[in-house]
């Protein structure tokens, strides 16, 4: 392989393409991250076609926002955008389609005694994120990764277990304990969802 092909594989190289307003930025982003983004959206939406549209929207968002933004973690940035698109689509459709990993993850969260609903309080959103972030940072890496894989990436339990080196039973038990801990923390902080 030519040296240039290897160099092209870096995040910084892709960002340089965005900053140069080269359309190659989109093809390189698609090449490097498209598969993973599509899989993420498909797990949430349960539909390959809808997932494709979300990824296209995410790429368009990247084109519009980079520059001036310069994400430190490009994949994470794209994943957040694509995930937001996918969840927004679910919310507007008022229906969660079967087949995605999201269904199970949502059922698990719904079984947890999350704080009572006085939702949509202005300014609450940032505080909730801050509490969740602080709580996650306290966790050892394996626990933290298991939680993020299951509830951010909507991975199946099997995939979560495989990625974290746990048996499915151990992963299930770990996630149960973590959900309870998080619910307690949110309650302690007076957070309402």
């Amino acid at each position: 392989m030519e040296q240039s092909r290897l160099q092209d594989g870096t995040q910084e190289a892709v960002l340089e393409l965005f900053f140069a307003r080269s359309q190659e930025a989109l093809t390189e982003t698609e090449r490097l991250y498209g598969g993973r983004l599509r899989a993420l959206c498909r797990r949430i939406l349960g539909s390959a076609e809808d997932a494709e549209e979300c990824v296209s929207d995410a790429l368009l968002t990247a084109w519009q926002r980079i520059p001036p933004e310069r994400p430190v973690h490009l994949f994470a940035w794209l994943a957040q955008v694509a995930r937001r698109q996918a969840l927004g689509r679910l919310r507007s459709d008022h229906a969660i389609k079967r087949g995605g990993g999201l269904v199970e993850a949502l059922e698990e969260l719904a079984e947890t005694e999350l704080p009572p609903s006085v939702s949509d309080l202005p300014g609450e959103s940032g505080r909730i994120s801050a509490v969740i972030h602080a709580w996650l940072k306290e966790q050892p890496p394996q626990r933290r990764v298991a939680f993020v894989r299951r509830y951010f990436f909507a991975d199946s339990l099997q995939e979560t277990a495989r990625r974290t080196g746990l048996s499915e039973a151990a992963a299930k038990s770990l996630l149960y304990r973590m959900r309870r801990e998080l619910a307690n923390r949110l309650n302690e902080e007076g957070i309402h969802l």
Binding site: R31, R36, A110, W135, R149, T164
Partner: protein, 378 residues
Amino acid sequence: MNEQERRAFALMEQLGGLDPALIEEAERYEAARPGLNLRPARRRVVPRLLVAALLVATLGLGAAASGVWDGMLQRFFDPSPQAMDQMREAVELPDVTADCGGTILHVRQTLGDVFNIYFNLDITLPKTVDLAALTQDLENGWTIRLGELRFFTGSTDWDEVKELRTQSEIDEYFRGRRHSSRGSISVFSEGGPNERGTLSYLVGFTAEARYSLLPTPLTDQPLTLVIDDISLSRPSQGGGSPETKPLVEGPLVVSWEPKNSGPVYLFTIPYQHPLRPGDEPSDWEATVVLSSLSIDISFPVTNELWESYDDFARSVRILDREGNPIHIGSGSGGSYTGGDFRQISYTRTFREVLVMDEVGSIVIGDFVLELADGERID
């Protein structure tokens, strides 16, 4: 949605605002599994007599058999005489020391090549740490835990970074110098501290070749290791979040210029494949990098080449000159990407040193790469 589902959905939405570093960590985690990415150092409780016996055995046999191989590298890889002979240029003794405000980092011996490095790291705690109290803590179930380890290009003195406190400040300072956004770091502890307050570790770093081999190889340029901090941690009595307390404030840094030169072969595989199912096939090129310490394989498009990732992984074999599989075990690192199987970036570190003279070919599914056709790039 009922009320509970609505709350669950709201929580799901809130998780979208996670720190991107946590998302990247979860995406990369496999790179360090099962061995230990940032694994907290565990204090081994070993009878003193056994320790003494191991030390005698290690020093006696290790020194005699391996020549320059340090005890920890020797114990980890347990190399054959052929492996040690092959890796003569891969072993170095930089013997670099960095004083980080009283905490001393000492890189004694290194083993590596252009995209792998293993080294012995001694960390001597500052005089301000009460060793008697620390020993008491360790006996009470606390473990010493290194903060995040990261590698950057270039040389850095502790004085330059000592005021940096948060991870984002450190990231900003080293912007553009991150050695690789992808790679695996392993940390193995041999316990401690000893009576001088020294903790001993074996640290390994394997950069994914696709991202790091060119243009920034690990060797022949300064390399900086940054450790966020050192803390004590123990499980919570009530089963909640673990308790932690600081031991040494960071960041801690040490720089040196690795010149390790283990053998590395680069292969390319031109192939035709549709970008998306149903497309006309187009030209692609896969990359394979084989070293004595790891193998890195990158296929940009793999829609129909393998049924699953497991099929792909099972299809990867290293054969000897007679065509028999070489079993060298998997080390602590390894990763792949490609959730929907459109591309693969696969790295696997080895638990033993691969003797290149014994290798005949690499088989990846239907692709067969003869070692003799590879390009030496070490």
